[in-house]
């Protein structure tokens, strides 16, 4: 399945069941943070995105994202990552969301769903996103 499907799936996973959304960044950099809220107005999920382009060769830069205003001791997250910004699964490239792929030809989800855990301390957590990577953080 094409890489755009992975992006659209991640966006849908971020928006699912949400009642409202806001952008936490001002849109002027390559680093995005969006948050959705449930029908009671409680934070539901955050989507972090490092839109720096990575060609697949040379060093792959990384950006630290610090989230504040969190509750609890930890939050889970799923990562959208590919070999590069131009990775094409139908041409043998690798793209995964939460460690899973959509099988070429039938679009069935395969692989074990993998969550990362971010430690929350004093309401803060830090995640490192490589260039051309996104992280979906589950806030409840």
């Amino acid at each position: 399945m094409g890489a755009p499907y992975y992006g659209a799936y991640t966006a849908t996973a971020f928006l699912a069941g949400a009642a409202s959304i806001t952008a936490l960044d001002d849109g002027n950099s390559n680093y995005a943070a969006y948050v959705t809220f449930d029908s009671a107005g409680a934070p539901l999920r955050a989507l972090l995105y490092n839109s720096d382009y990575y060609s697949g060769s040379g060093t792959r830069s990384a950006q630290s994202f610090e989230l504040r205003g969190l509750t609890g001791g930890s939050v889970r997250a799923k990562r959208l990552v590919g070999d590069s910004a131009v990775a094409r699964v139908d041409q043998g490239g690798k793209v995964t969301f939460g460690g899973q792929t959509f099988t070429n030809g039938d679009c069935i989800i395969s692989g074990g769903e993998t969550f990362e855990t971010l430690t929350v301390s004093g309401g803060q957590a830090t995640a490192s996103l490589k260039a051309s990577e996104a992280l979906l953080v589950y806030l409840k």
Binding site: G17, I21, G27, V35, G41, S51
Partner: protein, 321 residues
Amino acid sequence: MAPILAHVVAALVGVTSTASAVTFTIPSQAHTGSYKYAPVDPAPVGISFEFFAFPSYFTNVTATTQCLSNWKDLTGVWPPIRIGGTTQDRAQYDAKTSAYVVYSVSNPADAPASLTFGSSFMTLAGKYGGSVVVGLNRGKNNIQNTIDAAKATVNGMSNLLAIELGNEPECRPRAPLLKYRRLWDIELTGKIDYPSNGQPIAGGSWSPAIDAASQNNWAISVGSAVNKRDIIQAGNSNDSPPKWGAAELIATQNATVKQYIHNYAHHNYPGGSITSLMSHSGISRNLHVFDADVAAALKEGKQYIFGETNSGTCSSFDSLS
């Protein structure tokens, strides 16, 4: 010493960290602070299927329903779909055919220059578990045929969200992009849609004002013929606002027209390189182009959607998507 060593080590493993973190504070409650909030639809992401290829996608391509079902598993709702595009303005309704679509092409990867479709097209669309927008023909200027198709659409589909009357009335191929073709691209035979020597409806002069008058007349004619209010997905332009878009269209609409309008749609293909297309600042800049159109539609109490959006089209690049 230690920080320098850490930096050297980081360089050796091929990762460099940007000096400082970007920091974001999550509001504890929606609609607080200085952020702008927007409501989220239960199924906010959908898929558009090129008109002539729709039946094949749903009867011959196994992945189609599974790909849509994967999103349904996330949201609990089947994603909305839209059936339309360049070939909607090349299609003629034929109530007598039992086929979904009838056309001939010399190369299987080509889009047809003309085609007919039968009522089974709408029956198939009516089986889909989510909502459907169906795009019908305005380019050929055969309003009676479009009315016949609209009646079959309304009668055959309980999941119908809206009907489009015409696709990208202003779209024309840009010469440098004609090197590439995809399955549903405009045939490279010199034909262009709507303007100039393209579609019959644009045979004379054509402009946003002339198109708006045409859209409005057709909305009233088709809406009243099928006896439905809130039935038309209006706009469907590709060129950017303010020249083409919801605001300029709404400015021409009276109350009679507006009662037939369900929502406004625009197509958004920013074009460019992958670097620029994926850039968050580029995306933000691109989306703000539509601020006034979104506001104009919301002021009418109507939704505003991207009826099509991707990287590049109106003859796009194979290397983009």
